[in-house]
Structures are given as structure tokens and as C-alpha cells.
């Protein structure tokens, strides 16, 4: 066993790697075209070291292209791409020793077993520790003696997940890692990602599942047609958007409906619902209080609503980015 392996086993490696910029991934103005098709048109993305970044976008927005550029599989046409402080196109091999990757569509060698493939992929980061490997196999209930040919989509996904999560890679790049997993396995995945973050690892999590990103992500990056429309902490993004208010009142609701900062107002026999600008919340609550509410709920928008709001707007108008 090499000195590096020993260090890794003690869990030193993750801490000892210098991170000058404090960013595990840094992308500015990334452009990539395939002939006339522009896959990425000035994408920005930042993953601070030790955090989980949720990477959201509809099908074809450029998530997988971005990830392949980050892996040095595709070459960027222009823009800045830094992965763990290095250039993925030029220094791919050295950087790959420090990352774990789960592709969106996991393809495996059909005549190797899951266990063989896990060891093969684990070698990149210097080989897997037996205990961690066993723990992950156990957690995801994966039989390592089955040939990859016989695995279902979910089980293929588990092979790649076990290999990535059992390693001590300081950065995990996960492209829709839970597609094909059942809800029980999804919960175990959530647990494993939390554990990875607690170990100080950075995670780039591309996903379609909002509840998963909401549970895990410190930061969220939403892209659309190859461009970033929103990047920031989830808390901050919520702060910039309206609050949902629902109430049941007895009085006349006309005064409330006309108030500045009240939007999407609906009233039906005393049952109200509207969205409120945060700046106008005080005035709105005062007016609402005068109506003698018998019931009141106020909730921040879900990530799904945030996401959808970016996609129901006209292209090119990105209100929240402008406000920042």
C-alpha cells in the first residue's frame, strides 16, 4: 500500500488538498456548439468546495454537455472551466483521480459482474476501502456477483453510485443519479450524499427531482437553453420571490385585492389566495388583520415553482438575476 493510500484511509486526503479559489467547479461564459446547434450559450456555474450544488434544467438544456466538458470529454468552444483548480481538457487524468462520476445513462460491460466493475471504477481514485465498499453495497442492496447484462436500469445506476460514493473522491459529479431508483433507494441516496458532504466533499448534482435537490442542495443553478438563468443559495432564491398566502376571512376583500404587492388574487366566499411581495408583507398583513382572518398559511415557493417560474417567463427575461 502506498503512502497516498494510507493517507487516504485515514481520511486525510480530502482535507489536505489545497483549494486556492475555494471553488470545486467554476464555469464562466461557457459556449459549445455542434455545427449550427448551440448547446451552451454562455453558461455560468459555481460550486463552492464542500457544498452540494443542484444543477437543474429541462431536457436538452445542456446539463450533460456541461458535465462532459467538466470531465474533459468534450472541448469547450470558449469560456472558462476550472475543475478542482485545473483545466479538465488538459489535466483530465490528474483531476479524475480526485473525482467520482455517475453518468445519466449508466452503460456497463455486459460480461463483467457489478462487483468487478465497482473495483474497476474505484481504481481511478486509488482503489476502494473494503469497509466502505461493503457498506455502500449493503446500503443500496446490490448483489455484486450478478453480471451487468442482467442488471435493471436501477441496478446499473447503483453500480455507478456505489463506485463513486465508496471512494474518497473529493468531488462527486452526479448526472441524474436517482433516475431508475425506487423511493427507498432514493432515501438511502439522500443519506449517502449528506454523509459525503459531512466528509467535506463537494457534490455537483444534476437532477429532475426537485424534492431531492431541495433536501440536499446548498446552492442551486438553473439553466435554460444553454444559459444560466439563476445561480445562488436556495434560501436566497426563495427570498427573492413572492410568498404564497392563503386565508379564510369574513370581511370584504376588495381593499386587499387592490393593495400594492398583492398578485394573483383569488377570492371565493371568504377563502383567499394570493402571492405577496416580501417588501409589502407588513402592509398586507395589517390589511389582512383588519379582515379578521380565521385561518392563515404563508409558505415560500417550492423549488419546483421557482423552476417553473423561470420557464413560463418569456425567454431572455430573467427577473431574479437582474435583481441581484
Amino acid at each position: 500500500m502506498s503512502a497516498a493510500d494510507k493517507a487516504r484511509e485515514k481520511g486525510v486526503q480530502v482535507m489536505s488538498v489545497p483549494q486556492s479559489s475555494g471553488l470545486a467547479v467554476e464555469i464562466h461564459g461557457l459556449v459549445k456548439s455542434y455545427g449550427a446547434t448551440r448547446a451552451l450559450a454562455g453558461l455560468d456555474l459555481m460550486l463552492p468546495t464542500g457544498q452540494v450544488l443542484g444543477f437543474l434544467g429541462p431536457n436538452g438544456a445542456g446539463k450533460t454537455t456541461t458535465i462532459r466538458i467538466l470531465l474533459g470529454l468534450l472541448r469547450a468552444d470558449s469560456g472558462v472551466v476550472r475543475l478542482l483548480g485545473g483545466d479538465p481538457w488538459r489535466q483530465g487524468v490528474a483531476l479524475h483521480r480526485r473525482l467520482g462520476y455517475v453518468p445519466g445513462d449508466v452503460a456497463l460491460w455486459p460480461n463483467l459482474t457489478g462487483g468487478q466493475i465497482i473495483d474497476l471504477l474505484g481504481r481511478a481514485t486509488g482503489g476502494l476501502e473494503k469497509a466502505r465498499r461493503a457498506e455502500m453495497l449493503d446500503r443500496f442492496e446490490l448483489d455484486p456477483s450478478t453480471r451487468a447484462r442482467a442488471y435493471s436500469k436501477g441496478n446499473r445506476q447503483k453500480v455507478a453510485l456505489v463506485a463513486a460514493l465508496a471512494s474518497r473522491a473529493e468531488l462527486l459529479i452526479l448526472d441524474e443519479p436517482t433516475s431508475g431508483l425506487d423511493p427507498i433507494m432514493e432515501a438511502r441516496f439522500t443519506q449517502a450524499i449528506r454523509q459525503a458532504r459531512d466528509e467535506g466533499r463537494s457534490v455537483l448534482l444534476s437532477s429532475h427531482i426537485f424534492s431531492e435537490v431541495e433536501k440536499l442542495a446548498d446552492q442551486v443553478c438553473i439553466i435554460r437553453a444553454g444559459r444560466t438563468v439563476e445561480q445562488g443559495s436556495l434560501a436566497r432564491m426563495r427570498h427573492l420571490t413572492r410568498i404564497h398566502v392563503a386565508a379564510t376571512v369574513d370581511g370584504d376583500t376588495a381593499a386587499l385585492a387592490g393593495l400594492a404587492g398583492v398578485h394573483d388574487f383569488h377570492a371565493d366566499r371568504g377563502r383567499l389566495s394570493f402571492t405577496a411581495d416580501r417588501q409589502a408583507l407588513g402592509a398586507i398583513l395589517t390589511t389582512l388583520g383588519e379582515l379578521d382572518p380565521r385561518d392563515l398559511t404563508a409558505s415560500p415557493p417550492s423549488l419546483e415553482e421557482l423552476f417553473l417560474s423561470h420557464y413560463t417567463e418569456q425567454p431572455g427575461r430573467s427577473v431574479t438575476v437582474a435583481q441581484r
Binding site: 470529454l73 468534450l74 472541448r75 487524468v93 483521480r97 455484486p144 453480471r147
Partner: protein
């Protein structure tokens, strides 16, 4: 069929044709170019060879001399044997076996491509979810490929007849070519049902074809009934322009019908994606060498490597034994391809060996492309393997396997022949002669890697086209009227060992071209995006 009946459509036994029309059109749209290539190649080869024989062998003496040669044991062993000695006999012995076997191999690949390969990769699933009978895809492939055989056969016959060969013989000649093609279709249809992967299906079908070839080789050499156990032998015994037999075609069609009936009968009885062989549990992990790129390459290809080396050893033994039978004829042998006498035949045998190994080189390097298509290159590159290492490992592995295959075939041929003439030096001589083809084979590798680096989507077609060209030039280069001074500088044909020593300068130049192609390909691979 009423709505309720449609909902309750039984999937079990029974021959159904629902959706076959759709599948016929679908298949034609996807593969029309490939379907056209084969009849064109067969008809073109026939035309070239017939034209050449008509102009070059214009006296009965020349044809008689040629007939003596083709009646020699070695020629019979490799190219088959029929009785006539005229123009037709010359044409037949020059091209029939080569063309027929090539057609059968091409049809095996085509059938697997349109059947098991689609099923293995899940493409058939979408179609089978439509109101389409499970067998319709198989029926459509078999129908088109059978038609292809008929077209190729008719084309070859018309070409022969048009050049003034006797029409009955011409039709028989065409039918026998098409018949061997049909055997390929039949064997492949069955193999596609039995194995789970397209690779295994091709392997099984090619293996059966090889057995057929060997049976008729032994039968022709010993003059016994073994030839009659082989469909290739049946085609051969149709004896165009000689005894002009139609009836062996009945045997071929009967075999075709049995195989196709079995395949169509088996298809609806088996599970989607299944074959006869079920996958067993394997090791729960791997360690050390197995997890390196080279270890992985060996592990993934071990079965194929063993099959190749064993096959090449058998091939060497076969060729060596034909030499044993031929040595008395040496005096009568006419010039064949440079050099004279038995040495020329030996040189030709070694060249054939190298040309078979060319397929090994192409197949192994092109796995890079199929891996990329199946997203298997991505995880390797994401796992701290550099692009140079990925391609370099595959090259190194292919190089070692190529060297072993050449050496084993050459040594086997040398041992069998050397023993019969009590001259053990042949072992070394023929081993060296085989290995001398390494630079020529490196050119094939160079083409594969250059294609992979720069034109990944065309790499497979490009490489196999070059391999086919190498075969055609080596086999019928004289009929194509390629001047000797050019052949002397081309890969493969530039080597006459052990008959004559190749020019060192030429071999260095060929090596340099191969190295340049490899470097060029690696450069392209480093520049391009993956997957493409």
C-alpha cells in the same frame, strides 16, 4: 380482429405475420445501402474475373495449364474442386469459393445486425410494444437477405452468360453462389435465436460456417464423402460448366427451410432478450491487475483471443497439410503470384494467413468505436485513464495478439509441412514469413485508428472496406490488372516470403506509413469530443 381479441392477443406459439409489411419497409429504409453492396460486390467480382480470363487465357493450352494447377491438392483444399477444364472452370476456381464464403459471412453479419443486435440493445422493444408479431422482424430480415441472395445469384449468372460462357453452367454457377449465401442466412437466423449477444451470434454462425468449410476441405483433399456433409460442398458439387447438377440446390434450400422454420418457431417461445444460454453469477469483485486498463482489455477479450489463436493454429495445420499433398506437383506448377513452383504457393498460403489476421486487427481495434457507441469509453476516461493510454492499451493488446496469431499459424504450418518433408527448418522459415506481415497489418491498424480519431462514425465501414480491398487485391490482383511493380510495394502483396525476400526499403516505408496513420489518428482522438 376485434378490439377485445386484440387486447387478449396470445404471445405464445404460432406463426404470425402481423406487422411484417411494416418491418419489411422499416428494414429496407435502414439498411438499403448495405443490402445493395453485396449483390454489387458479387456481380462486380464475377465480371472482373470473367473478363480477365477471357482475355488472358485465350488458348486451350493456357486453360489446361490453369486446370492442372487448380486440380492440385492445395488449390482444391482452399478453393474447392470441380471437373471442367475450360474457361468456366478457370473462372470458377479463381473466384467461386472466395466470393461464396465472403457472401455468406456478409449475410451473417447483416442478419445479426438487423436482429440480435437490435434486441440486445433494446431497440426492438419499442416495436414489439406495437401490434407487431414477435417473429415479424426475423421474417423481414430473412426475406430481404434471401432476395439479396437471389439477386446476387442471378446477376452473377447473367454476367457469365453475357461474356459467352454456356448459359446452363452460368445459371448453375450463380445458383451455387447464392446457395452458399442462403446457408449464411440460415445459420445466422438460428444462431441469433440461441445466443444472447450479437457478438456471440456472429461467433456461433461463423464457427458453424468454418466447420462447413473444413468438412469440405477434408472431403475434397481425401476425395471422400465429407464434402457432402457441408452446404459449401453442396454448392461446389453443383459443378457448373461440368456435370451441371441442379439437385444439390434442393439440399441447400431444404437446410435453409429447416433452419428458418426452427428460428421462427423458437422466437415466439422464448423470452424477449433471452437465448439458450443464461448468465451465471460471477466474482463479487476484482483486484490488482484486473482493474488496470490492460487487465480489463484481456478479461473482456479472453474468450475471443483463445478462439482466434486456436483457429489460427488449426488454419496453419490445414494449410500445412495441403502443402504436404502438393509437394509432388511442384514441378508442374505454373507461376501464380511472382516466384514459381511450390514456394509461390507457400507464399500465397502465408499471405492468406496474414489476411485472416487482418480481420483480427480490425475487429479488436474497432471495439474502441463500439465501446464509444455504447457509452463505455466515457467511464474509462472519467476514471483517470488518458486518451493515449486508452487507445495505446488497445493497440498494444491487439499487437500482441496479432503477433501470437501470426506466429502460431506460421509455426503450425511449418511443423506439419516440415515434418512431411523432414526439414525442420520450415518451422522457423514460415514463422518468420508470417511475422513479416506485421508492417502490412500495422497499416490496417493505422487506418482503424485514423478513422477512429477523425471520422468516428465512418471508422468501422472504412476499416472493413480497406480489409476487403486488401483481400480483393491479394486474391484477384492479377485479374484487376494491377501491375506487378505496384503490387510489389503494396501492403500484403509486397511480401513473397519464403519464395523471395521483400524489399527492406518498401517494408520500412510501409511501417512508416502505418506509424504516421497511427499518430494522425491519436492526434485526432485527442482533439475531438466524446462521445461522437
Amino acid at each position: 380482429m376485434s378490439a377485445t381479441a386484440a387486447g387478449a392477443r396470445p404471445r405464445s406459439a404460432g406463426f404470425r405475420l402481423t406487422g411484417t409489411g411494416l418491418m419489411l419497409r422499416f428494414l429496407l429504409r435502414r439498411t438499403w445501402a448495405r443490402l445493395l453492396v453485396w449483390p454489387a460486390v458479387v456481380v462486380g467480382m464475377t465480371a472482373v474475373v470473367v473478363a480477365y480470363y477471357k482475355s488472358e487465357f485465350d488458348t486451350p493450352e493456357a486453360l489446361a495449364e490453369r486446370a492442372v494447377l487448380s486440380n492440385s491438392a492445395g488449390m482444391k483444399a482452399i478453393f474447392g474442386h470441380i471437373t471442367p477444364t475450360g474457361l468456366g472452370g478457370g473462372v470458377w476456381s479463381e473466384m467461386w469459393m472466395f466470393t461464396a464464403v465472403m457472401l455468406a459471412i456478409g449475410l451473417i453479419f447483416l442478419l445479426t445486425r438487423t436482429n440480435r443486435a437490435d434486441e440486445e440493445h433494446g431497440r426492438t422493444e419499442l416495436l414489439l410494444a406495437r401490434p407487431i408479431a414477435t417473429t415479424s422482424g426475423l421474417v423481414a430480415s430473412v426475406a430481404w437477405l434471401t432476395l439479396l441472395c437471389v439477386v446476387a445469384a442471378a446477376g452473377a449468372a447473367v454476367v457469365c452468360g453475357a461474356y459467352g460462357l454456356e448459359w446452363t453452367g452460368s445459371w448453375i454457377m450463380g445458383a451455387s453462389l447464392g446457395g452458399v449465401g442462403l446457408t449464411g442466412v440460415a445459420v445466422a437466423a438460428l444462431a441469433n435465436q440461441l445466443t444472447v449477444t450479437s457478438r456471440d451470434a456472429n461467433g456461433l454462425a461463423l464457427g458453424i460456417l468454418a466447420v462447413f468449410y473444413l468438412l469440405r476441405t477434408i472431403g475434397d483433399l481425401k476425395g471422400n464423402a465429407l464434402t457432402w456433409l457441408s452446404p459449401i460442398g453442396w454448392g461446389e458439387r453443383m459443378d457448373p460448366w461440368g456435370d451441371d447438377r441442379w439437385w444439390p440446390l434442393v439440399l441447400i434450400v431444404a437446410l435453409w427451410m429447416v433452419c428458418i422454420t426452427l428460428a421462427i418457431g423458437f422466437q415466439p417461445r422464448r423470452d424477449y432478450g433471452a437465448g439458450l444460454v443464461r448468465s451465471r453469477p460471477g466474482p463479487v469483485g476484482s483486484a490488482g491487475f484486473d482493474t488496470t486498463e490492460f487487465g480489463l482489455t484481456i478479461r473482456l477479450n479472453l474468450g475471443a483471443a483463445i478462439a482466434w489463436v486456436a483457429g489460427m493454429a488449426l488454419w496453419g495445420v490445414l494449410l500445412g497439410s495441403t502443402l504436404t499433398d502438393m509437394k509432388d506437383l511442384a514441378a508442374q506448377l505454373a507461376p501464380l503470384s511472382g516466384g514459381t513452383g511450390l514456394d509461390a504457393i507457400i507464399a500465397l498460403w502465408v499471405r492468406l494467413t496474414a489476411l485472416v489476421v487482418a480481420a483480427l486487427v480490425a475487429r479488436h481495434l474497432l471495439t474502441l468505436r463500439s465501446d464509444e457507441e455504447h457509452n463505455l469509453v466515457e467511464p474509462r476516461l472519467a476514471a483517470a485513464i488518458s486518451r493515449l493510454r486508452l487507445v495505446g492499451t488497445r493497440l498494444l493488446y491487439t499487437g500482441i495478439l496479432t503477433l501470437i496469431a501470426l506466429a502460431v499459424a506460421g509455426a503450425a504450418m511449418g511443423i506439419v509441412y516440415g515434418t512431411s518433408v523432414s526439414a525442420p527448418e520450415w518451422v522457423g522459415k514460415l514463422t518468420v514469413a508470417s511475422i513479416a506481415y506485421l508492417p502490412s497489418l500495422a497499416v490496417i491498424a493505422g487506418v482503424a485508428i485514423a478513422g477512429y480519431g477523425w471520422l468516428p462514425r465512418l471508422a468501422t465501414t472504412l476499416t472493413w472496406t480497406v480489409v476487403a480491398l486488401a483481400w480483393i487485391i491479394a486474391m484477384v490482383g492479377d485479374a484487376l490488372r494491377i501491375p506487378r511493380r505496384i503490387l510489389d510495394h503494396l501492403p500484403f502483396t509486397s511480401i513473397q516470403l519464403p519464395a523471395g525476400n521483400p524489399s527492406t526499403v518498401t517494408q520500412i516505408a510501409i511501417t512508416a506509413i502505418a506509424v504516421l496513420l497511427l499518430a494522425f489518428g491519436l492526434w485526432g482522438f485527442h482533439r475531438r469530443g466524446i462521445p461522437q
